[in-house]
């Protein structure tokens, strides 16, 4: 189930510093609107909306429309590919593959 794709989507979504800042603000509030996110951010509301759209596509935030407002909240499940990647065995196998590459160079130059 964990292919390269979901982790790439999560990484791409969070690699942008502004988008990461938006995500951090969503994480630190229960629910938050675009207007509240825009306030004091130094970025236009349109830009914030685009960032939220990207975060939503990566599965990192969910939205809940209520009346004329849309509330955004963080989705813990969205970070699973990343947590997994950084977990002990994710790191373990990547390190081992690097060792294997070195060993192969030695025995089969």
């Amino acid at each position: 189930m964990t292919e390269a794709a979901p982790i790439n989507a999560v990484m791409r979504a969070l690699a942008d510093p502004t988008r990461r800042a938006v995500f951090e603000r969503v994480v630190s509030s229960d629910e938050i609107t675009v207007v509240e996110l825009t306030r004091g951010s130094g970025v236009t509301q349109g830009a914030i909306s685009q960032h939220l759209k990207a975060l939503k596509q990566a599965g990192l935030v969910a939205e809940r429309p209520e009346g004329r407002k849309v509330y955004y909240r963080a989705q813990p499940e969205g970070l699973e590919p990343l947590v997994d990647w950084m977990s002990h065995y994710g790191v373990f196998w990547r390190e081992r593959f690097a060792n294997l590459r070195t060993l192969l160079k030695e025995i089969d130059p």
Binding site: M1, E3, A15, V27, L79, Y89, W93, L104
Partner: protein, 154 residues
Amino acid sequence: MNDAALKPDTQDIVVDEVFPHTPETIWKTLTTANLMGRWLMMPAGFEPVEGRHFTYQTTPAGAWDGTIHCQVLEVKPNERFAYAWKGGHEGNVGYGSRLDTVVTFILSKVENGTRLRLVHSGFVLPKNDTAFRNMSEGWKKVVQNIGAIVDGKD
């Protein structure tokens, strides 16, 4: 909480890379104890024979002595190699927690070498609310690390 929420969900770790070597050479590094010891860990009692039991010694944690108990499940020379990977203890969280997993290596010939795909499957994910709450507290740290990870990846 319904039944679906109580049923553990599992996740796989996948590492997939191309090496500029033949499948035969890579197969040797995956299935020869001395070579395994040079890139992975030195196995005890290993033979590339289906049904064979062997172990790896790793760092102990809590009530777990650090032994990983393996059993060869599938040997298809130069193509596919799988073994069970079990260890850990119920009392541990994170490193050293209970593991009942399978490691599978899949080799396929590509233009400039061999694609080696590792699938380490069967990691149980916490699916209940408490676990998610605990995990969400680690978010901030995770998010702070993303920039570094992305840089390191390319």
